[in-house]
Symmetry: C2
Subunit: 236 residues, 2 copies
């Protein structure tokens, strides 16, 4: 087989894998190649900028956030902003993105240098970069359809997620113990809202307000405050 036909047959195999995974044929295969290129396998293109998947990951992260916000907004018409934020964090997390990458079989397509890529989030990053590539290649609507139809509805169980306490509270408490920080919840405010009491809770780390949560249930308000603090600490 000549060099040229080998080159094309490699592309053909990738196109076919992607078609199975995505439900459509990519138009611009180079976008997907970039999405699958971990920085350990990247080469320089200009001024020290490498052709790794990091820019696409940045874009994909934002697009994924928008689509999932749209999804939870419509799925839960009678839930408040705090709940929507929490649901989105359960759907889109480093852990969840890593898993989704493997469920899709995307991990097998990643180009990396095995000697030089010890990275906890390599799989999740490639998943986000794939979303970025789909968005650029096919536009928002197709990308949204892929995320909702092929990812959320196929690989995630929203009802289970809704009822699972991703326990931000215990995650925060573990962190505080490890880092030898004082941690406590404080009641910030209670207000009457019709016939119900709305409770505001502060998550305090070393005496400083790090997170805030509001809900009609104290337990729920604590979870939201803990989630807020976890986000600020980057430990989601």
């Amino acid at each position: 087989m000549g060099l040229l036909s080998r080159f094309f047959s490699k592309d053909k195999a990738l196109l076919s894998s992607l078609n199975n995974m995505l439900g459509f044929y990519p138009s611009n295969i180079n976008l997907y190649k970039s999405a699958l290129r971990h920085r350990s396998a990247a080469t320089e293109i200009k001024n020290g900028i490498k052709n790794s998947n990091e820019r696409l990951e940045y874009l994909g992260d934002a697009i994924l956030g928008a689509v999932v916000a749209d999804y939870v907004f419509k799925k839960f018409p009678y839930k408040e902003e705090g709940f929507l934020t929490e649901m989105r964090s359960k759907i889109v997390s480093r852990e969840s993105n890593n898993k989704l990458c493997r469920k899709l079989g995307l991990d097998a397509l990643i180009q990396n240098n095995p000697d030089n890529s010890p990275n906890k989030s390599m799989h999740g990053d490639a998943f986000e970069a794939l979303i970025g590539a789909i968005y650029l290649d096919k536009g928002y609507r197709v990308c949204r359809r892929f995320i909702i139809g092929r990812i959320i509805q196929h690989h995630l169980d929203i009802d289970t997620l809704e009822n699972t306490e991703t326990n931000f509270k215990s995650r925060l408490i573990e962190w505080a113990q490890r880092e030898r920080k004082a941690f406590a919840f404080e009641l910030a405010e209670e207000s009457e809202n019709g016939n119900r009491r709305l409770i505001s809770i502060h998550a305090m780390v070393d005496g400083e307000v790090l997170g805030t949560g509001q809900d009609y249930s104290k337990k729920k308000a604590e979870q939201i405050a803990a989630l807020d603090a976890c986000k600020k600490l980057g430990i989601l």
Copy 2:
């Protein structure tokens, strides 16, 4: 004038203001009314859920993030992810959203209870909620065109923003002084990348890594690390 015609003439005035502001007529005026309703003027609709703009603000924030990510991704094809993150933070911040609300004249349309709405971000929140309303009413493409064509290109000067150091470093240092925290930058890593040295910097608060930045320039890497830390502290 009867009650009914007064009701419609009020809607008509709002429709006309929005048409001037947006460049199109809203299809579902109720979305925009919700976007303009501060929680101090909201009433309960179900199970303690109020018809304030908070859910739309949540949605709009995510959509705005996606559109601006797309914009900076394409505007700066040879910049790395850290730079794109920084540019987006300059374009979309609480301060900037508050200003944009007033530049659009949206602040005059907000429904609030003046006795009960002392809120630093009321204007910016309404701006984000407006983006959420446009997205639901007209879809992503129209919303994107509005954000890029009417907001970014009309009200923001990207070249100036690019060259302005939004000084995350000094913002972080001020915060640390106010909160009596020890603050320092630390060199985390230097690595050869072709013929250039890539520098990783940690922003340390009380001896703990709170932010990380990478760039070929030390000053730039410090800015990115400071931005990262500011985000985690919620002081952007």
